[in-house]
Every structure is written in C-alpha cells, then in structure tokens.
Amino acid sequence: MVDPHDRSDRFELIAACEGATLAQFANDVLEGDPPLSVRQEPRPQLLMQQVCDPVERRPFNLGEVLVTPAEVELEGTRGFAMVPGKGERAALSGAIVDAAVAAGHEETPAIVAALEDVAAREREQRRQDWAQSKHTAVEFETMEGQE
C-alpha cells in the first residue's frame, strides 16, 4: 500500500500525477505567498537506463530516458520531484507539492487524497492491462502424427 506521507512513495505518485493537478495544488500552496526558493531549476535532463543482461548478468546501457527534475525550498522545507518527459511546469509544481506535504501545509489533506487517487488509478490501469493480456493467453497444441 503506498502512502503519500512517505517521501519515496510520494515521489512516485507525483511522477505519475497529471501536470495540471500538480499545478493547481502548487498554485493553492503559493497563494499565501510563502517564502520559496528554487534550488534546482526545472530543466529536461537525461537518465541513462541501465539493464542487467540476463545472459552474462552484467549491466549495459539500453538508452537514455528524458525526465525533468526540480527542487525547491518552501518555508525552510525542501521538496524534490521528477516527471517523465519534458515537463518543466509539472516538475516545479511537483517539487512544491512535495515540500508542502513534508511541511504539513494546510493543503496536505487535499494533496494526499489526490495522490491516493493517482495510486488507485495506477493500480486499476495495471489490473485492466493485465486482464486484457490474460484474455489472449493461449495453449498451443502440437499436431504430431496428424496429417
């Protein structure tokens, strides 16, 4: 069970959250004009995806993945987020949301509820994808001796 109060879980949920939702929460958090500094500007960057070759069990570089990270400090509390693809606004909003929850901002219950919805949606999507695939499971029969 994922917990939006847990920083690692929250990171994953923010990464999976819609950018518009993150932006809405970030705007709500910033409405009272709290002190905010951007420690890492949101800029697209690369992650080199390393995979373990199952034959020799040694890692190799599959290729790079485009991500956008950002880090902020909100009222003395740091927040970090990374979103897939080129998403400067979503990454900055995500970092603000992360810091807000870490600091126990008054928006926290609403943010946590939204992130729990993201977790439920992800679970349901994965279940549905798996169900669709399983619907095509087949048992091949050999036809030896049959003309």
Binding site: D53, E56, F60, N61, G63, V65, V67, A137
Partner: protein
C-alpha cells in the same frame, strides 16, 4: 575524398525549407496532431526512440511530424536534442525479469510457466487491407470483453532461468562488471565488450539490424537460433531518491525483449546452450529478434561472415552514421568530381582516346575503353 566550401543564397536555402514544410500541410485535411501520432502511430515513435537512443514518446511524435514520417530523420532529431541536455544520472540497474509483460510468447517451450500470452498482435492473422479503416469511424472491438476475473498482475518467469536452473546454460567466463561502458560518450574500440555490443545494437537502425540478422539466417553465418521468448512490456526506470536514498520509480519504458538459444557443440563433454539477447525501446519485435541473432553471431567472433564480425556489424547498423554518409553524397562534390574528370581525361589522352577532349555524357563514361582504365588508378 576532397571537400571544398561552396556558397549559395541563404534565402534560397530557406525557401527550400519552406517548400518542404508546405508539402506537409499542402492538402485539405486537418493538420495531424502530435497527440495523434503518439497515440495512434506507436510503432513509428518506438522506432524513432529506439534508434535515437532516447525514450521520449511525445518528442518522438513531434520529431516524426517534423520529419514527415521519416523515422531515421526523426531519430536524428532526437539524438540532436539529447546532445543539448545534461545527464542527471544513471538509473538503478533494472532486471528484465521485472518487465510487466503485456505480451510473451515462447517458440521454444510450449508449456512455459506463466503461459503463452499473445497480447496485442496480428501475427496469426492474414495480412489483408482493412478498408473499414478508411471510414474514420473507430469502434473498440474489445468493448464486450469480460475482464473481471483475470486476477492480479503476475511477474512472468524468465525462460532462460529455467535452463539455467537445469545447468543447460553456458555460463560466461568473464567476471561480472559493475559499470558498463557508455558508447555515447566513448567510442567503441575493437574487440568490443559485450555491454558495448548490446548498447550499439539496441540503438541500431531497424532495417540494418534486421537485414544483417537475416544474413546469418540465410546461411551467411552459423547461428540459427530458437527463440526462448519474445516479450513486450514495461520496464521500471528507477533512481536513488536524493533525500531518502531509497530506489524510487520515475516512470516505465515500453520495451521489447528477445532471447534465443543457440546450441554450443564445441564443449562436447558438456553440451550446453549459448544465448543471444535483444532489448530495445518500444514495440519493435523484428529489431529485437534481429539484435538477438547478431548478439549470438558476434559472440562467435569470426571474420568469415559479416554478421559474426563485430566491427562490421557495429559500424554498419548505426542509422545516424549510414544516414549521414549516404545523404552527404547529395552535397556539392564539384572539386572531387573535377579531379576525377581530369584524371580520366589524362588517361584517355595518354591512350590516344581523347578525340574531343571533353566527356559530356554518362554514356561516354560507360564506354568500355574508359571503364577499362579505372583499374589503373
């Protein structure tokens, strides 16, 4: 080969570019959206991402739109874009066993644990034009499926592990290494390390990987594998969280994986299987299988056949290299050609063949007397 700078009107170059863009929009239909390309032409975006070595579905769709459907050009645009970016980090090393499969078939094992899952494919149906698609009126053919009782998602056992457990897998001699070489930062030196081979094949041009893999199957090689499994699924992209130090998932990449078994007979006292491996970004089974054949072929390390020669394969399959070299032939080569003309004229004159002193047509160049002189160069 000699080069010389030429100049032309900048405005004319811009006009040519404008005409190219006009071709894209010069009909009565709506402008095709990046969302549509990303959502409906997934094979194209997969190919561009794979060959570009950059997983970015939306930007791949944009690149395909800009390149008017030319996947190699789109891959070129992605590589050019990535060259402008910083690298945040390497990911935690993912194990392919973690792939959340949407399709897995094993041509080697009929009763593979976890089952044969056909997934989304037209592999088993006839290739006939579907004229209904011309109607622009899509219907979901799965709308009536009852999907309530399929259980929770499972992780499918990797087929190679079954053979490994039986001791049938040829274990490599080399010790495990922690940090792979990165061929985007350091050029490959020969003989290459296996991780370099896999990285270069993973971003090879689909047609080239397929063709060279096919060459081995056609008899220009000794590898005719049986595929242990082909999988399509999602692979987690994980980093270490800067605050907690825990591994966290940023996203998933869609990948295609292929593993092939190849009998190894030289160890006659202990016959085992060797393996070929293929893994690419996106849904591209043909390329993943071609990569598998080439990986197995390269392990034979032979100069006898093209597919078994690592240097030949890796120098040939990169789409950017072949794209650049083939396409550069369109650029002005006036000085180069002038020197060839001068040489041929001199030879003709020396042999008393120069009547008019000028070679004006291709037919004249193809004259047997002239063609015969080319070996003298």
């Amino acid at each position: 080969m000699g080069y010389v700078a030429v100049t032309a009107g900048e405005e004319l170059v811009e006009r040519a570019e404008q005409l190219f863009e006009k071709q894209r929009i010069d009909d009565d239909s709506d402008d095709i959206g990046v969302d549509q390309i990303e959502g409906q032409l997934g094979r194209l975006t997969a190919q561009a991402m794979s060959e570009g070595g950059l997983y970015a579905p939306r930007l791949a769709a944009l690149a395909i739109k800009q390149a008017q459907g030319d996947t190699v050009e789109a891959a070129f645009l992605l590589r050019a874009y990535r060259s402008t970016l910083e690298r945040f980090d390497e990911t935690a090393t993912a194990d392919p066993a973690e792939i959340i499969a949407s399709r897995r078939v094993s041509p080697a094992f009929k009763d593979v644990p976890g089952g044969q899952i056909l997934g989304a494919t037209k592999d088993y149906t006839q290739r006939l034009l579907d004229f209904d698609l011309a109607d622009d009126d899509p219907e979901d053919p799965t709308a009536e499926w009852d999907l309530d009782d399929e259980g929770d998602p499972e992780r499918l056992t990797n087929v190679t592990e079954l053979l490994r457990e039986e001791g049938l897998l040829h274990e490599p001699d080399e010790p495990m290494v922690d940090e792979p070489n990165d061929t985007t930062r350091e050029s490959v030196t020969y003989p290459p390390e296996r991780d370099e081979v896999l990285q270069e094949l993973a971003r090879g041009e689909t047609g080239a990987v397929t063709a060279l893999g096919y060459s081995a199957l056609r008899g220009y090689g000794q590898v005719h594998p049986t595929l242990a499994e082909v999988r399509v699924g999602r692979l987690p992209v994980r980093i270490e969280h800067p605050y907690t130090g825990e591994e966290v998932t940023v996203t998933h990449t869609e990948v295609t994986e292929s593993e092939a078994v190849v009998p190894v007979y030289e160890k006659r006292e202990d016959p085992q299987f060797a393996f070929g491996y293929g893994l690419t970004f996106g849904r591209n089974e043909r390329k993943a299988i071609g990569m598998t054949v080439l990986d197995a072929s390269i392990q034979l390390d032979s100069d006898d056949e093209p597919a078994e020669n690592a240097e030949f394969v890796l120098d040939t399959v990169d789409g950017m290299d072949s794209f650049g070299f083939i396409e550069h032939l369109k650029l002005p080569h006036y000085v180069t050609f002038q020197s060839i003309l001068d040489r041929i004229r001199a030879i003709r004159e020396r042999k008393g063949l120069s009547e008019g002193g000028r070679i004006e047509t291709g037919e004249q160049l193809a004259d047997p007397a002239v063609a015969g002189t080319s070996d003298d160069d």
